[in-house]
Every structure is written in C-alpha cells, then in structure tokens.
Amino acid sequence: MFDFGPFFDNFDQILEGFWATVRLAAAAAVLSLILGTVLASFRVAPIRVLRTFGTVYVNILRNTPLTLVLLMCSLGLNDVLALKFSDTSSVTYYWWAVLGLSGYTAAFVCESLRAGINTVPLGQAEAARSIGLTFTQSLRMIILPQAFRAVVAPLGSVYIAMIKNTTVAAAASYAETALVMKTLLDQPSFTSGALPLFIGVAVGFMILTLPTGFFFGWLHKRMAVAR
C-alpha cells in the first residue's frame, strides 16, 4: 500500500509537472499583482466609469469558479474563438492558463489592496494634494506604498491560494503537477503507488507554499509603517 517505488520511478515526470506549476504560479503572481493594483486604483478613482468597471470586474471574477474561468479561456477563447498566443498548443495553453489565473487572482489582490487603502488615514491624501500632487501622483507615491505595506500578510494568503489554484489549470489543458498526477493514476499498474503519490505531491506543494507564507510574514514585519 505504501509502495514508494512507482513514485520514484516517475520522479522525473513529477518534477517536470512541478516545474510547470512554478512557471505558471510565478507568471500569475507578477501579472495578478499588476492587474490587481490597476483594478484597486480604478476602484478608488474619482472617475465614475473606472470605479464601475473595477467593481463589475471584481464581482464577476471573484464570484465565478476558477475552473469555469480557465475552461472559458482554453476551450472558449482559444479553441472556439481561435484567439491563440502561438501555434504551438503547449505555449498557447500556458499563456491562457496564466491569463485566466491572473485575471481571477487579480480580483482578490484588488480587494486586499483596497482594504489596505482604507487603512491609510485620509490626512495622508489631503497632505499629498496640498503640496500639489495630482490624484495619480498621490496614489502612486503616498497611498499605494502605504496600502501595500499594510496588506503584505493578507497578500501572502492570496498567493498561497493562487499557488494551489494552479492545479485547476489541468482542466484547461495545461500540463502541470495535477495533470501529471492524474495521468499516472490512470495507469492500471499504478494503483499500489497511489497513496505515496498523493503524499509526495502534497509535500511538493508545501515546499512551494510554506516558504511563500514565511516570506510574506517576514516582509510584513519588515515593511510595517509606524504611525
């Protein structure tokens, strides 16, 4: 029952799956941070159209199952509408997975960040305006830097959830860890190695997520703004 043989026999394949997971998570982390910041800026902007766009976007993406978002990207946009990033199918599915996961995670980044913006005292924005900074300048130089520092820890949780959410990309034809695992389990000869495989993959994810959590915790302490 606890035969680790098959697990190590296919170790290369599993490692490849994890590498695909890391590439997806890293790209989604960067993209969702940028997109989330833009959305949060929209949601506090003095222009109504931008605020409405931000609100609608967040409420749609945050309340749609990720599987649906990713299937929409891969099957809907890539396959049916033929909006392809590349003619190589692995490349185009990768980028659709990145885009879908980023778009979805950005809604959560945006909401964390907006909570952070609410922790910045109103006087900071008033002082920024009083020395002649425009809205965009005061957001970029005064409000957002302080908002980010306030929400480093919650952002860590968002990113841990995002790393685990990469497993859903298997549904969107992207060959990451979960898909490798499912392929291995489908082999009739593999039944004896099922439990060790689960354990191995779980440990693999912890190797990715635990340091992420520690890193964000450390960063939070280091960056905290004294008032």
Partner: protein, 267 residues
C-alpha cells in the same frame, strides 16, 4: 527667528503665468456658501487677505473656521461664491488645481507627514515631483528649512520617531519647501502637548515677521496678539467680527465675540 538674513527665501511666489504678479490682495473670498447636507457651515463669507498680512481666525468649535481654511485650497469644495488666490479663481479639478495648491501651503492639526518617508523625503517630495527641481538642490533647500525650524538633526528619521512638536515643525518645512504664496494653518497646535506648543508658535511668529502671508485658525490668543494684523471672529458659519488684535481682545465690538472671549479668558 527674527533674523532672516542668509536664511532660505520664503516669500517668493510669483509664477510665470500670473496676470499681475505682486499686485492686489493675495486671497479674496467673496460670498462663499457651503453646506454639509442640511448644515449651512459657511454663510456668505467675505474676506480679503493682503500680501504679507497675517490673519487669525478665531471662534467656537463648529463655527466654520476649519472649513473656511480648507476651502481656500479646495480641500473642501464650495457651493457658491468665488475664491481668488493671487487674482485667479480656484480651478475646479485636475492639473490646474494641483498647480494652485502647490502655491498654497497647508499645515494640518494632525501634521499628516507621509508616514513611510523620512523627514527629508517628506520635505523634498513636492519640490522634486511637483516643481521638478533637481534632487541635490531640493535636499540643500530642505536642510536649510529643517535647520530653520530647528530639526535638521532629525532629517533621516521617520515621522513616528519624532515628537508632536517636531513633526509639526517638519510639516511647516514641507509646506515652505514649495515656496508658497500663502500659508494656511488649520489649528496647528491643537493636537500638541502643552510644552510643545511654543516651539511651533515660535516658528510661525518668525514666518510672520519675515513677511509670509498667513491665514491661521487657532485658539492661541498670545500668537494672535503677537503676530496677527487682523483677527476674524467666526461663529455659526458667519464672520461676526473683523478687527485688529488689540481692539478685538480689549474692546470687541460684537456681543457674540465678547461672550466668547469672556468664556475663554477667565480661565
């Protein structure tokens, strides 16, 4: 603080696009009305502030003093009337308004120093990002200003590491760094421990002597007597009395002012 020789130039202000730089009153408030919902907080306010004049606004809480002060750089929008700064009406929004605000210094009750920036960065941010000055020039000027307000040795610290009095002096330096035409003070000493009030008032008195145009909302009667040319008494959203400090404190014309003074001066 009386000796301004060799100190940084504080009263410079005329930008290149001024219609008639240096002519006429600096701030003109005409028939200004302002509501907060049902509450009529500014009722037909008229006020003229000349160049180099120090005007102290005094009166009971909720009388509209702070609102008037904040409306002069449009931190509070007004419902009616006009406000002219150096002959130009306040722009409604956008870049023009930002440009005007750069010329109008503001000091807040709660200091509002940028919490994530050092004192020096607080003072240089405006000159670098708004005035587009070089970093070196801005830092040199900032250090002169910090020296002038007596906290040059705190330049590398963060606001939370300073006392209230030091923070407020840093905030004054931050405003001065923009070389404003006029400075607004919104109860600058009300949040301070008593022993720190004077260090801030000394800086303000020095500014007044150097000819800075100032509008000061305060309860500090000593400062009003010492530094102001004009006292404006506000109550219930109206300017009840405009007078010289000496006349106002010894021989107020209106009953409302006499009543207010009797309540605060007997203690």
């Amino acid at each position: 603080m009386t000796d301004s020789e060799g100190g940084p130039e504080l009263t410079k202000g005329d930008g290149p696009d001024d219609a008639i730089p240096g002519a006429g009153p600096l701030v003109v408030v005409e028939h200004v009305d302002k509501h907060f919902g049902e509450l009529h907080v500014l009722k037909d306010i008229n006020l003229t502030v000349n160049r180099g004049e120090v005007v102290v606004v005094i009166g009971p809480s909720g009388g509209g003093k702070s609102t008037l002060c904040r409306s002069i750089n449009r931190l509070e929008p007004i419902d009616g009337g006009t406000i002219l700064v150096d002959g130009k009406e306040l722009p409604k929004e956008g870049k023009d308004l930002a440009r005007l605000r750069a010329d109008v210094g503001m000091v807040f009750q709660s200091f509002n120093l940028f919490a994530h920036k050092t004192i020096l960065e607080n003072v240089t941010l405006g000159p670098i990002k708004v005035r587009k000055q070089g970093r070196q020039e801005s830092e040199k000027h900032a250090m002169e200003l910090l020296d002038r307000v007596g906290i040059a040795n705190q330049a590398q610290k963060y606001p939370a590491q300073l006392s209230g009095g030091q923070q407020q002096r840093a905030a004054i330096a931050r405003s001065l760094a923009m070389k404003p035409k006029v400075m607004l003070f919104d109860e600058p000493t009300s949040a301070l421990d008593p022993e720190m009030v004077n260090e801030v008032l000394d800086v303000m008195t020095g500014l007044a002597r150097d000819g800075m145009t100032m509008i000061v909302v305060t309860h500090e009667m000593g400062f009003a007597r010492r530094a102001a040319q004009k006292v404006v008494f506000m109550a219930d959203g109206q300017i009840v009395e405009e007078n010289t400090p000496d006349e106002f404190f010894t021989n107020a014309r209106t009953d409302r002012a006499k009543d207010f003074l009797s309540k605060i001066l007997t203690h």
